[in-house]
Amino acid sequence: MFRLQGSKVLAVDMTGDSVKAKNGSMVAYDGQMAFKKLTGGGEGLRGMVTRRLTGEQMTLMEVRGQGTCWFADRASEINLVNLQGDKLYVESSNLLATDGGLRTGTTFTGLRGASQGNGLFTTTIEGHGQAAIMSDGPAVVLRVSAQYPLTVDPGAYIAHQGNLRQSFQSGVTFRTLLGEGGGEAFQIRFEGDGLVYVQPSERNTIAGDV
C-alpha cells in the first residue's frame, strides 16, 4: 500500500509482498526488508538489451519484506498513480517506485522524446496496482477527453496514462530563425481519453529557448 508522508516521501506498507523502486531511493525502513538489485529492471535479458539499445536506462531494486519502507529522491515531489489494467507512460528518470506486480517495459515515443532531450523511448508500466512518479514541483493532473484535447510543453511533460494519441507539433517558422519565435515552438498534442501529468517547471530543452 503506497501512501505519501508529506509530499516528498513515499511510505510503502508491506506484508511479505514486494515493490520495485529506483536504486538507492530507500531513506528508511521499519521491520524486515531485503533489497535486491534488479538487473535490467527485472525485464529479463530482452528488456536489458532493449534498455541498453534505447538509452532508456533504469536501475531498479526489488524490496521485499514486512513493515514500512520509505522512499525519496532529491527532495522531488512525489505523485501517486493508480493503475487498473491500463498503461502508464513515464520517463524512466521520473519513476520512483511501482508495485511488484506491475510490468515495466520500453516503448517508442517518437519525436516528443527527441525534443525533450530524453531520447526517443519511454518507460511503460502496466497492470493493476500503484506507481509513484516524481516531478519538479507538484504535478498537475489534466484530463484529456474527446472534446478537450490538450497541448503540453515537452519540457513540462512527465507522464500520461490511458488511451491517448500524441502528436508532435512544431511551430518553427522563418520567424523563429529571425529571433521572433513564439517561444513555444515545440508542443505535444494529446487526443483521446486519459490523464496527462505536467510539472510546474521546464527541463532545459532546445525547445525551451526557441
Binding site: G155, G179, P200, S201, E202, G208
Partner: protein
C-alpha cells in the same frame, strides 16, 4: 462521459471545466483563461493548454499596435510572446511560487526575472533602476518568487536579494553601512551588490507611502536581461558601466537581431 481513471484519494484531476479562471491551480501553477483576449508572457513559461491558443513573438507584424500601446521595452521584446485565442493555459516557472496581482490604475516595479505574464491593459516599461520593469495601468499580472511573497510598508530597508518589487514608493535608494564604500573592494561590492564581510552592509531603502514586495528567500531568480537603455547623458545604466550585472545586459538586443541566435538556441 465515462471516467475510466478515477483516483480515489489520489491527486485532483483537472479538466477545462474544473480549472480555475485566472487563478492559481496550486502554489506553483497559474491558470489563465483566454476568451479571444491576449496576454503577454515570458517565453517558455506555458506548460500546457486546452483550446486553441496561438503564441506569437513580439515583432509579429499583426501585433504591432498592441505592442505600441502596452509594451515599451523594445530592447527586450525577444523575451516575450503574446498568447492569443480561447481556452485555458497553465503557466509555471521552474517550480517557483507564482502569484497574481491586480493593479487598479496603479504602478508596480518588479525585478525583470520575476515577471511571468501580464494583461495588455497594463503597460510594461523599463524602470530607470537597471534590471527592473515597471507596470502601469489597470489589470492583472503574474509574478514568480522564490518562496511566498510578503508585503511590507515603508519606511523599510531590505536585503537586495530578497527584493521582488515595490508599488508606489517614490524613493528606492541604496543604503550603505559605515566603511562599506572605502577601498577598491568596497567599490566592487557596491557595483555587484555581492560580497561584504557579513553580507548585510548594503540594503535598499524605501520611504514614503507604498508597498514593498519581498520573497521569503535570499536566492535570486535568474536575471532576465532587460535590454540596454539608449546611450545618452543622464540615463542610468547606459554606456555599459554596469557590465558586471549579467552576461547580456551590456549588449543591446534588437528584436530580430541575428547575433542573438546562439542564446535563442540555449547554447
Amino acid at each position: 462521459m465515462s471516467t475510466p481513471y478515477p483516483t480515489p484519494g489520489g491527486p485532483t484531476v483537472f479538466d477545462p471545466m474544473t480549472l480555475p479562471a485566472d487563478d492559481n491551480v496550486n502554489a506553483y501553477t497559474f491558470c489563465v483563461e483566454l476568451k479571444g483576449s491576449q496576454w503577454f508572457l515570458q517565453k517558455g513559461k506555458m506548460i500546457a493548454y486546452y483550446g486553441t491558443i496561438d503564441f506569437n513573438g513580439i515583432g509579429h507584424g499583426r501585433l504591432d499596435r498592441l505592442v505600441r500601446t502596452s509594451f515599451h521595452s523594445p530592447l527586450h521584446a525577444s523575451d516575450w510572446v503574446v498568447a492569443e485565442g480561447s481556452g485555458k493555459m497553465l503557466l509555471a516557472d521552474r517550480a517557483f511560487d507564482v502569484n497574481s496581482y491586480d493593479l487598479e490604475d496603479g504602478n508596480l516595479t518588479i525585478r525583470s526575472g520575476n515577471l511571468l505574464a501580464f494583461q495588455p491593459t497594463l503597460a510594461l516599461k523599463q524602470s530607470i533602476v537597471p534590471g527592473f520593469l515597471t507596470l502601469i495601468g489597470t489589470g492583472k499580472f503574474v509574478a514568480a518568487s522564490n518562496g511566498p511573497v510578503v508585503f511590507m510598508e515603508p519606511p523599510i530597508r531590505v536585503d537586495p536579494q530578497a527584493l521582488v518589487g515595490w508599488a508606489d514608493c517614490p524613493s528606492p535608494c541604496h543604503h550603505y553601512d559605515h566603511g562599506y564604500m572605502t577601498g577598491v573592494m568596497g567599490g566592487l561590492r557596491a557595483m555587484t551588490g555581492l560580497g561584504g564581510a557579513s553580507g548585510e552592509e548594503h540594503q535598499f531603502e524605501f520611504v514614503g507611502a507604498g508597498t514593498v514586495l519581498l520573497q521569503s528567500s535570499e536566492t535570486l531568480m535568474a536575471e532576465q536581461a532587460t535590454g540596454a537603455v539608449p546611450q545618452q547623458a543622464g540615463v542610468p545604466g547606459a554606456g555599459g558601466a554596469h557590465s558586471t550585472q549579467g552576461p547580456q545586459s551590456g549588449v543591446p538586443r534588437l528584436p530580430g537581431q541575428l547575433g542573438d541566435l546562439q542564446r535563442r538556441f540555449g547554447l
